[in-house]
Symmetry: C2
Subunit: 449 residues, 2 copies
């Protein structure tokens, strides 16, 4: 259960009393996620003492749950022997995550203190491209050979299982480490002891390549309801697995990135509360500047209609409503399409179907909204002559164009291998602003001047 | 691997040749996810024949993967005996998902053809509130008692495992079905045969209550890296588990809902391509209407400054840039806060910290953008007198107000138990439009008239 205020207070009290015996038994009852967040919420001095009070077996597990700032502080404070023990106990993917966030001199100290095998694995992982399947996989998995019996396989798992991040899916490989099949522990337990693995293994299975995109790999786990996905290298050797908990983290991070991009924010890795004001300002500034420049272009276009609005100033008061509704209508369409593509529900080949659908939606929505608007204008400003008609026509046109633009741009981006999430509300509303105002004042110029 | 065009063509060919023997062997090599999507892409007649060609054991598994339209068509076409066999083979949560989407007369036929136990389970599930933990749990899980030895436990799993959706986490319950602890199959396999379960079980573990929100339950699985989460009723009886694959689906659905709400679309359950134009139009219309009405209010406020812009019409051409930049700056803040709260990174109690952070960001971003703008205006329109200063001041003010409003409103919504996702771009930009224009024309009125 989530860590409570009183737990932290109790731990602080025990630390002050130097009652390490009771503290150890409190720690024993807590899981590593809660332990890590309790220790993180202590003042630095006490956090270090608390961390050192942990039983050796859980040290690495708790360490893996800390955020990178806390990990750095610990690494700086502990001895080389302690460091070396923790690193060798960490899952390799967690060790790599830690190292990626660290300043260079600490990285060197960490690598110096890992065992040769761990160091070579870490180096191998660090070389996989960012956001690749290789960068999130773990190299600890259970290998079986197809000529084992079920009984031998279970014995093998019982022997080596302690070092493996997940044992529930075992992979069958040949002498050259080529992936031949998989068998789950469930299948092993339900099979006859003397059955051969080759008779019960599944040979057709989803897999990913180290250089594939980590998001695509994570989606495969989600699609096929897997708890682990095998990762092979270019020569089809099995080199690791991606576990469901890491896949879940990947999907959440990628989704957060989409949310941010869709709000014109350059994505950042750190949580909001831990990112500096300058970093946050920088992540937002570039996009705001681009959009401001587009807004200036809209202003320049608008300037060419000065004759219209300076002779009929009341037209100005309908501008926010027209651009606002247009922008919102366009963002609805682009969000639908961007999210649909992210979920794999909409494909590039659906472009005509999607645009035709959005076109029909825009006709329905546009006509009803414009009609409501027209009636309101007739009632409230009966003396405006043709102006209500101008507003209504501009509104229908704006909504149709907005939904068409909003649905086409994300798909076109995908075709051009640009992230569709960029074609979201901010850019769409900026484009729709310009288009709506040109339409509005053109119609006004024709009908009123 | 994803289903290929040629697979479907090959299946069609085999169906046309009535070569059911080869077809069966093709089906044997495919997993249920790919099988379901291959069959769904066939014309209806052929899809039915293909479905009937499936081996009895995989029928239910493939059926569970179909979308609800296809499930209905199958249910309408098969005999009561076939229906009854499929339903009893389905996991109860899949059967419930199917029933929730069906018209009433089909639901009755389905319930009539399930075994009494399945029917009572389905009814029990249907009574859990929508979006509750109870509505996504499965009642098939492995129960152990604490006085079993490891050997007995493994034998028990081997005996009953076939009916259980996940066997990897087993739950220890007392005679009254109260949850006492859990033990994973990994722990069982690594333990000594004669060890008692009570000595190796974990007694402290995250759990959820049937009436809890399903999203909170899914987040617990993600937070603690679980593959199953126990669900208890109000009397603390263990009644089911939520598995990681279902939790992942919940998180994806809830995220999609957030995306849609944040774009002013009422959430819908069905995928975009399967939703009718009228349904989609209706989901978007209400919000557009509300936002249009707010836009009218902005227009009315703007009307009161007619004296200002009718005497200095050039002011109008800077409006889209000012409202656009303000709206985008506000949406950036609200998106950051909404997503941060959804991930649990930002809490209601952080409100002052967040607003202070956004205020400092807005000062930095606002001053730089306004300065850039001011210089541009001086260069391009040197003869505008104080107008560049008015635009720059309005811009700084608009960005500060936008980021403050954008960061406060989602947190206030959360305090009032309203979904923060509603306080996103569409609403924020509408509010910021009004505030920006009032500020702009007030400054213009003071400095220029």
């Amino acid at each position: 259960m989530p860590i409570q205020r009183q737990d932290v207070e109790y731990i602080t009290e025990l630390l002050n009393e130097r009652n390490y015996k009771v503290l150890r038994s409190v720690f024993d009852d807590m899981n590593s996620v809660d332990l890590a967040s309790a220790i993180e919420s202590l003042p630095q001095e006490q956090a270090l003492i608390a961390f050192r009070t942990l039983p050796k077996e859980t040290e690495a597990e708790v360490f893996a749950e800390f955020d990178s700032d806390m990990q750095q502080k610990i690494v700086e404070a502990i001895t080389d022997t302690e460091l070396s023990r923790i690193i060798d106990d960490l899952w390799v993917d967690d060790a790599v995550d830690m190292i990626e966030e660290m300043p260079a001199q600490l990285v060197n100290r960490v690598l110096r203190n890992s065992s040769p095998e761990t160091r070579s694995l870490i180096n191998q992982f660090l070389n996989y491209p960012e956001n690749s399947a290789g960068s999130v996989m773990t190299s600890e998995f259970t290998k079986l050979s197809k000529d084992m019996t079920v009984k031998e396989a279970i014995e093998h798992i019982r022997k080596v299982g302690e070092d493996r991040e997940t044992i529930y899916t075992c992979y069958v490989i040949d002498a050259d480490r080529h992936l031949e099949g998989k068998v789950t522990v469930k299948e092993l337990l339900l099979a006859n002891d003397n059955e051969l693995i080759k008779n019960i293994m599944e040979t057709e299975q989803p897999f990913t390549v180290t250089t594939d995109d980590r998001e695509d790999a994570a989606k495969l786990l989600a699609k096929y309801d897997l708890i682990a996905l095998p990762v092979v290298d270019a020569q089809n050797h099995l080199v690791g697995i991606i576990t469901i908990d890491d896949a879940l983290d990947v999907l959440r991070e990628e989704t957060t990135e989409d949310f941010h991009k869709m709000a014109a924010i350059s994505p950042s890795e750190k949580p909001y509360l831990k990112t500096s004001v300058f970093r946050l300002a920088a992540n937002r500034f570039v996009w705001l500047l681009c959009l401001m420049l587009s807004g200036m272009v809209t202003g320049a276009i608008l300037g060419s209609y000065e004759a219209v609005y300076s002779s009929i100033p009341v037209l100005v008061s309908f501008m926010p409503m027209l651009t606002g509704t247009g922008g919102n209508a366009g963002s609805q369409s682009s969000t639908m399409v961007i999210r649909g593509m992210a979920l794999g529900e909409i494909k590039v080949s659906d472009i005509f179907y999607v645009v035709w659908k959005e076109f029909r939606i825009s006709i329905i929505v546009g006509i009803i909204l414009a009609a409501a608007n027209y009636i309101r204008l007739l009632i409230m400003y009966g003396n405006l002559g043709l102006i209500p008609l101008v507003v209504a026509l501009a509104q229908i046109g704006a909504i149709i164009m907005a939904k068409t633009i909003g649905s086409i741009l994300p798909i076109v981006a995908k075709m051009l291998k640009i992230d569709p999430a960029i074609m979201a509300a901010p850019l769409i509303t900026t484009i729709v602003d310009a288009v709506t105002l040109v339409l509005y004042y053109s119609i006004a110029g024709k009908l009123l001047m």
